[in-house]
Amino acid sequence: MELNVKELASNLLPYFLIIPAITLIMFVMVYPVIWSIYISFYDIKLYSIFKWKFVGIDNYIELLRDPIHILSWLHTPVFVGGSVAGQFLLGMFMAAALNALAIRGKEIFRAIFLLPYALSGVIIAYSWRFMYDPYMGLANYFLRLLGLKGVAWLSKDLALYSCTIANIWRGTATSFIIQTAGFASIERTFYESAEIDGAGVIQRFIYITLPMLKPFILVNLILITMATFNTFDMVYVLTGGGPLYASMVPSIYMYKSAFEFGLLGYGASLSVILFAVNLTFTLIYLKSIRGGV
């Protein structure tokens, strides 16, 4: 009898071990996501959070009417599209160049390229604010070196593009490291035999490297798209979505609606939409890594 109890306990041990993690995850990650759908049907003000007024789908209808909300989506092709294109190409070329070169000190390059990943978005925002300053900034300093006129980087016309450049700078590290892992997964022998067959650098890249990298490229594109789409700290501190909503993106607008304009229910409805977009990407991601990366 005693033995059975012991056996039962040891059978249950793996379940016991995961209880703390699963409990925490359910309470503060999963429950909020589900609860946000419920919240989005209510009108809740930040200054009276215990007074909930049921409004049905009014928040969602308002989202469709809200010109600033619509504007924030109109900015995503530039911000997300530009960021992803820049991060992907730069990260890919950096990984490819580092992989192809037979030099010492590769680790130093790798460390330099990875550095932005380790920094806080707030600090990154400040350093780019210093870069973009019309007078004391380095960005205009370089433009003037090239004989061009300095521009107002954080003005209404340019803020969105300036945020995109700063975001490319920030996110290239992720792209670089995933592509580096991709190159590391390709066996040297493929190249050697191709070289014996007389294939040049470019041919080897097209016929060996690219096909082998395909799964890594897919994962990379999904991850950097999601990271850019969900960005908050850097843009919030750099421009706050301004000036005059010129660099407003959906994630920032969600936050501002909820915590600056004090409309928690409205913010929750935009959260739900953001989650739906993320869910789509996540499912593609989970499917693609099952494909054997």
């Binding site: 946000s36 809740i44 908050f232 928690l264 959260s271 996540t282």
Partner: protein, 277 residues
Amino acid sequence: MPGERWFQVAAFAFLIFAALFSLTPIYWLIATAFKSPEEAMRYPPTLIPTNPSLQNFIDVFRKGFVTTGLKNSIFLCIISTFLTLMISSITAYSFSSFNYRGKNPIMVFILFVQMIPLVVIIVPLYLFYAHVGLVNTYLGMIIIYVTRSLPLSVWLLRGYFMTLPKELEDAALIDGCGKLGVFFRIILPLSLPGLMAAAILTFLANWNDFILALTLLVSPEMYTFTVDLFYFIGEYGEVSWGQIAASSVLGLIPVLIFFAFTFKYLVRGLTLGAVKR
């Protein structure tokens, strides 16, 4: 082959350019921190501080701009990292050394949770915290810091545990060591590099956190470093750039120290979480 040579030169030139692009904004921040207020406002800007001074750092400390924030961040990050390691290592052990029904779906579920961004949960989390009295408490901060770090840490540690030779575990079991004994006496001591990697990633993620602390902490004496840094301009009125830069550099120091010694772990953590199964 001349083509090869040309390619090598071009690739190297590109790498140098990319490295400069990577370093410039950080360099500019550090350079600004060491300039005197007059030099920081000079036009055209000086690329290298002509008279490097520590004045900005002294001012920042004297006025106590970010000292509370740094203290709070250190406190929160150390506790959260420790708890994350405890919880994630037993979870990872459950995944690496046992076979049971439902294991794979649970693992995929945890990977799925890792993909939930903070912007999506911040509004409901704030309301939830407000209802249970966790807003503006360190307990609340620690709970979310630990939880949001768990998925990556679990996956990273499970990957590490899987690389340990299975024979060791079997031998210990035959010698009469229980499953928990194996974990504490064999798996954990052998996994120090993996635990280090998980600890660094957790520490950095929470050290750099902004959205959670900005939303869930209300009183200034509770703020973490990044929130202190953000409110800098508004609260103190005219603050010189040099002082903002100096404060940022203070927050950079622990990151740079970690980074210099352990960036290999960072690489491993990033790729494990991202691409390896």
